[in-house]
């Protein structure tokens, strides 16, 4: 049990906070799998796998509703305060970001369905490889962010946020390359559009992952970092 959730005189409260944390981690595990599978479908051109990602989004939505229900009950029954309040608020905000990561996985999968439609030629490898390299970074970053949420590791969260600009730089570089050179290198315009959409979705996943780490800092340190607020 985490020190953040244990130690209440009313012990059921410990369990409720712990269960909420587990529910969010479970949801995190599912959206991570969604993003991984969406990226794998892009790498392999597996339209069936992309379709499975789209269908599985219902499960993400169900977990969002379940977590929200738990959070509302916690507010109503326990009136959390101090660190407990920050913990519940952090997890509540995390639920929203996780659900949106799930939506981005669906967007990636939808683009994969269009890119690898049976009646179309396979997209040019040069740009695909660039996007995939970035996708691997994003998957790894999301995994790291979820581990930070799991451990409530504020120091790791600070390191994560400090390194976020490197990922942003890569996005901009790859995007520029596709936009500027896509046509010159003979790629199909709609391929470029779909790859840009995937790139945007990956960028948003990365942004949501950063948000998750900001909520950890809010819980542990009581500092609000959103929108660069002080």
């Amino acid at each position: 049990m985490s020190q953040l959730t244990e130690g209440h005189l009313f012990r059921r409260y410990d369990a409720e906070l712990q269960q909420l944390h587990h529910a969010i981690l479970e949801m995190g595990g599912l959206v991570l799998a969604q993003v991984r599978d969406a990226v794998r479908s892009l790498r392999t051109g597996d339209v069936d796998l992309a379709n499975a990602v789209i269908r599985r989004d219902d499960k993400v939505d169900a977990l969002e509703v379940d977590s929200d229900t738990r959070i509302i009950a916690l507010f109503a029954r326990r009136c959390p305060k101090g660190g407990d309040l920050r913990l519940v608020m952090s997890l509540s905000k995390s639920v929203t970001d996780l659900e949106r990561i799930g939506d981005e996985a669906v967007k990636i999968a939808s683009s994969v369905e269009r890119l690898f439609a049976p009646d179309r030629p396979r997209p040019a490898d040069s740009f695909l490889l660039d996007v995939l390299a970035l996708a691997d970074v994003v998957v790894s970053r999301l995994e790291e962010a979820l581990q930070i949420v799991d451990r409530w590791d504020a120091e790791a969260a600070q390191r994560f946020i400090a390194s976020q600009h490197e990922v942003s730089d890569r996005f901009h570089h790859t995007l520029t390359r596709i936009m500027d050179n896509g046509r010159a290198e003979g790629g199909h315009t709609s391929d470029a559009v779909n790859l840009v959409l995937i790139l945007r979705a990956l960028e948003r996943v990365s942004g949501h992952a950063e948000n998750l780490t900001e909520y950890v800092i809010y819980q542990v340190m009581g500092l609000v970092l959103r929108h660069h607020a002080v």
Partner: protein
Amino acid sequence: MNTIAETKTIHGRESARMRIPEKAAAITVQQREYGRTVGDITSPNPRIVCRDVNVYYGEKHAIQNVSLDIGRNEVIALIGPSGCGKSTFLRCLNRMNDTIIGCRVTGTILLDGQDIYQDGLDVVPLRAQVGMVFQKPNPFPKSIYENVAYGPRIHGLADTKAEMEEIVETSLRRAGLWDEVKDSLDQPGTSLSGGQQQRLCIARTIAVNPEVILMDEPCSALDPIATAKIEQLIDELRELYTIAIVTHSMQQAARVSQRTAYFHLGRLIEVGETAQVFTNPRHPLTEDYITGRFG
């Protein structure tokens, strides 16, 4: 030193070394300095100024070096576990502890700049200036009218019957009770419900023109509806008076007060804006208490 937020704001595309936030570092220091009050004890516009207040019950050191300002037109909530000294501190503010044999108070308590413990001070007018509402409603065994009129009469605040009637009506109106009792002013105060009795006691306190109202768990014997009415009343009275309330209900403290002071074993551990204390307390003892971990 940059805070993490500032660092994040400025990092832009450049690499930035994240630093331990000042606040987090300060908390670490404060955790080591047990016994020193965390937070700003001062008020920009104080009605009451307490410095190094100590209270002894015989050998027992019940309040230890408490310093705290209470601002004009503010509600300050004093919270903490049973026996922490919050009620003892409250009772120092109008010298109610004088009635306890063996009780000794040291330090300074100023009301509008005047030392309330100075030699020769008459405590009767002091207790009109600093009125008190107790846990259990305690109306006099008299009519509703007489409960309110008693104080102004002994303090000579009304020269005529009409003046007294005006004081009674105004006090009952301010206490939110007038509409409920205006047709039964001759009925015994004890015939009212618990919540009405408590509002009658507040009207009785108001009737002698206090500057400060001390409330010692004023809602602990009341149901939620009566409690809500008293809390609404506290919020309205804040415009006219300074209010210090001792409460075991953290929800109540969060609802009615602008500042909250947390007491523990006779010490003032932390004081701060109520929203800050209940979302981001700076002392681990406060955190343990408000989250229900204190054992």
